[in-house]
């Protein structure tokens, strides 16, 4: 829908500390903001929850917080990291601010609406050389073509500009004017035009007189103001509706080739893989808890947390545990992938994140220590309070000991029976205070379930648990496992206990579109041809549930036997 082109949308100095700058391009409202580290973000000015303008939100230094419901979106990919109304940390994967490619160059911020944030601004070229002094920007309520035509007569608005030597030329988006001034060399002024909307244009002015910027700013400002007033005098200024932008083209393909630089046995049946990923340095805002998808040779998709990474060296470290009841994914990786193999991986995703600015109690079980050790590392680096509690079967199954030994606050628990684990978790969770209520858990489902049960039994409602649960870490319990057959392809898939139909199918490469992933919104509505359904959603009406011919596969399951879906 939008041309693949870069436009100036703001002077770089307008993105001040903790500010959210409002601008518009082709009718699309943009929220521009800078993190404390200097990363620039250009997002659609619309919270994906209920459309509230993000420019009225708060720039926390690493994320944007929407004023309506307090949702927070992290710098870079715009993924939502906090939804206050749902404290257990479950996050629909679709909760993400729409991000556009953005670049900071020559004192300006440039945006390309056709591409997403991972694009490289290699296509940024200029018709004219850019003068060094960035002066000011002014908005004119008129179409770009008229503004451009008027700027070619700039000498009419600046009474000191020498008309004899005045020259003007344009290339569409830029108007270059120059003239000789008494006792000075040639004055070069460049006007860059930003088509904010069909009847609104922003003029960004620059000139080559860097010695007295204030004087030239005032002078150009005066001339442009006269131009603006004259152009707007006869026009009826209509308010134009903002345009909703379509999703920009993703710069990187779904699967990227990563080479295995090193494979090491680091614990009993656990191997670490150090991967080299070219273009890794383009990812902004990867935080502790991030994971990648890995696609095996058989086409199975598994998630692995990043234990460590180095964007400069373009390397990342993951751990693979050979699961005894593996459905093939971990076995393929553990047994077949060697050094110099090339793996297909996805871009890192940040669905499991630390709450900004606060410490935490970290609990890990088995290979679940992978994202947890990354989180502990980050908290220690930020000097926030934390303690890492690591539950393992025996001391030989401890993974990533090298990384753990670098941390100050770690406790190990080994060879505990389930009731001992429950008791230990109770001791740990009893110490969680309302001031530091965040608890992060990653490990087998039994560990998470026990922790949640302990919290509920003791009425500790101040504790905010965030957890990461990859389906490949769940043990199967045959009485709750069932099969789903897709009518169109005839293929059948096992849906294990504790894994939603949509999550399990996604692992096999079958995508059903989801949004809330809580049975509320209706996006994943799927027709059912046969099988008895256990409805767990709140979206379908009673009649629809009784009819048995449709379901919400993001939460609902089979009541007994297998299901045949009409997809």
């Amino acid at each position: 829908m939008f041309e693949d082109k870069w436009f100036p949308v703001a002077r770089a100095d307008e993105l001040v500390l903790r500010h959210v700058f409002h601008t518009q391009l082709h009718g699309v409202e943009l929220a521009l903001w800078r993190t404390d580290k200097g990363e620039v973000n250009a997002w659609e000015n619309r919270c994906p929850h209920r459309g509230m303008r993000l420019t009225l939100g708060i720039n926390t230094g690493k994320s944007l917080k929407c004023q309506y419901h307090g949702w927070q979106f992290h710098s870079g990919d715009g993924q939502c990291s906090v939804i206050p109304s749902v404290p257990d940390g479950s996050m629909p994967h679709s909760a993400c601010a729409k991000n556009f490619s953005v670049a900071e160059k020559n004192g300006f911020v440039w945006v390309n609406l056709a591409r997403d944030y991972l694009s490289e601004p290699s296509t940024l070229t200029h018709a004219f050389a850019l003068p060094s002094s960035v002066l000011r920007s002014i908005t004119v309520n008129a179409p770009l073509s008229l503004v451009q035509a008027q700027l070619l007569n700039f000498c009419q608005y600046d009474r000191h500009a020498d008309k004899q030597t005045f020259q003007a030329q344009h290339d569409g988006l830029m108007v270059h004017v120059c003239w000789q001034e008494y006792m000075l060399q040639t004055i070069d002024v460049l006007f860059m035009l930003q088509p904010a909307h069909t009847e609104k244009t922003v003029i960004h002015a620059m000139c080559n007189q860097s010695d007295d910027e204030l004087k030239w700013t005032r002078r150009i400002n005066q001339a442009l103001t006269s131009l603006k007033l004259e152009m707007e005098a006869d026009r009826e200024i209509r308010e134009e509706e903002p345009v909703i932008a379509p999703q920009p083209v993703q710069a990187l393909p779904r699967w990227l080739p990563a080479r295995v630089v090193e494979r090491k046995e680091i614990a009993e049946q656990v191997a670490s893989f150090r991967l080299h990923l070219p273009s890794f340095n383009r990812f902004k805002g990867i935080e502790a808890g991030a994971h990648i998808d890995v696609r095996t040779s058989q086409g199975l998709v598994r998630q692995f947390s990043l234990v460590e990474w180095d964007t400069k060296a373009q390397e990342l470290l993951i751990g693979v545990k050979l699961e005894s009841e593996s459905r093939g994914g971990s076995a393929a990786l553990y047994n077949e992938v060697k050094e110099d193999s090339v793996l297909e991986i996805s871009a890192p995703k940040n669905h499991f994140r630390l709450v900004p600015g606060k410490g935490g109690t970290l609990i890990a079980g088995g290979i679940g220590v992978a994202p947890i050790v990354a989180m502990a590392s980050q908290l220690e680096h930020e000097k926030l309070p934390y303690h890492l509690h690591y539950f393992v079967r025996n001391i030989y199954s401890r993974a990533f000991v090298d990384q753990l030994n670098k941390l100050d606050s770690v406790s190990f628990y080994q060879a505990m029976q389930p009731d001992q684990v429950a008791g230990q978790l109770k001791t740990i969770l009893a110490k969680v205070s309302p001031e530091q209520p965040n608890v992060y858990i990653c490990g087998p489902k039994g560990l998470l379930d026990t922790a949640l049960r302990v919290i509920q039994e003791n009425g500790w409602s101040h504790i905010q648990v965030r957890h990461e649960l990859f389906s490949n870490r769940i043990t199967h319990q045959d009485e709750h496992t069932f099969k789903v057959t897709l009518a169109k392809s005839g293929q059948s898939y096992i849906i294990p206990s504790g894994v939603s139909i949509t999550d399990a199918l996604r692992e096999y490469g079958v995508q059903i579109e989801t949004s809330c992933e809580q049975g509320v919104c209706g996006t994943c509505y799927t027709k059912v041809l046969s099988g008895k359904i256990n409805h767990k959603d709140v979206y379908l009406s009673e009649e629809e549930k009784q009819s048995g011919d449709c379901m919400m596969p993001c939460v609902s399951r089979s009541a007994s036997g297998d299901l045949v879906l009409d997809i």
Binding site: Q67, I244, Y539
Partner: protein, 280 residues
């Protein structure tokens, strides 16, 4: 434009009982049409379509003056307004630069209380929204078992308490809220939200209320409610798009948004188009 029957054939508010002054002619807009209304010399309410000078059907009920541009069904009943123990009042009418459907949806939402109405209807860190029940009865939406911790639930109540909310959406542009009365917790105060859709993306909100609270003055009750609406306007005027998107997936919902999802689904089933956003 041709407006669908489910929207056209309805009663819409133009004023509350305390507003019009006898003999004065008032101008307003309803569903894109210019309207004039007032109280004639016998204090009877009338309304006319200004372009055609046609007399329009009018109704006085629920402390409000209603007008219709079509053939409306019977007005919905509100037994609580007949209760003589209650004080009935209304805020001033408030203009909102958004579709009336967005206003109703905001009215049903509780998750924004600790952010938009911090210190009164909600407070940090009590942001979690407990699961609640949404049911359809007599073609109206009822939201029950909705509870929220409020530091200042009413003007006269010091100290926070858990307040139970029951919402009832009677018509696409009319909804009611029954909330626990802090002074008589077994009874409910009533707040009405009657939206007058002026255009698809602009509306006027009329809010009659029936309170059991007799410790605060009428003026204090009115000002409290108006400050709440004032905070909501700051949000409502800044939602993009102004019209309500009905397509699921265009905006993301979570568990706390069950009432909003049910409202959108209900509007969709009824065939409501006026005030909705159609994704190009």
């Amino acid at each position: 434009m041709k407006i669908e029957s489910v929207v056209l054939d309805q009663w819409y508010p133009v004023a509350t009982e305390n507003m019009p002054v006898a003999g004065k002619v008032y101008h307003t807009r309803l569903l894109g049409q210019p309207i004039a209304y007032g109280l004639d010399e016998n204090a009877a309410f009338y309304a006319i379509q200004r372009d055609t000078q046609e007399r329009l059907p009018v109704l006085m009920q629920h402390y409000t003056y209603w007008v219709s541009l079509g053939n409306p069904p019977d007005m919905f009943a509100i037994p609580e307004l007949q209760d003589s123990g209650r004080r009935v009042l209304a805020t001033v009418p408030v203009c909102v630069q958004a579709s009336g459907l967005r206003v109703v949806e905001n009215f049903l939402d509780m998750a924004h209380f600790p952010f938009v109405h911090d210190g009164t209807l909600g407070e940090m860190p009590h942001t979690a929204v407990k699961p609640y029940r949404v049911e359809i009865e007599n073609d109206e939406i009822y939201v029950r078992d909705s509870e929220f911790y409020q530091p200042m639930p009413a003007f006269s109540h010091e100290g926070g308490m858990n307040i139970a909310y029951i919402y009832r959406v009677c018509r696409p542009f009319s909804a009611l809220l029954y909330k626990t009365c802090p002074l008589q917790p077994e009874k409910k105060d009533l707040v009405c939200l009657f939206v007058q859709p002026c255009d698809e993306d602009r509306c006027i909100v009329h809010m009659p209320m029936a309170y059991l609270d007799d410790s605060a003055s009428l003026e204090e009750l009115r000002l409290f409610r108006q400050s709440i609406i004032g905070q909501d306007i700051a949000i409502l005027n800044n939602q993009v798009p102004r019209k309500l998107p009905l397509l699921s997936g265009f905006e993301i919902s979570t568990g706390a948004d069950a009432s909003s999802v049910a409202y959108r689904h209900w509007l969709s089933e009824k065939g409501v188009c006026y005030g909705t956003f159609q994704n190009p």
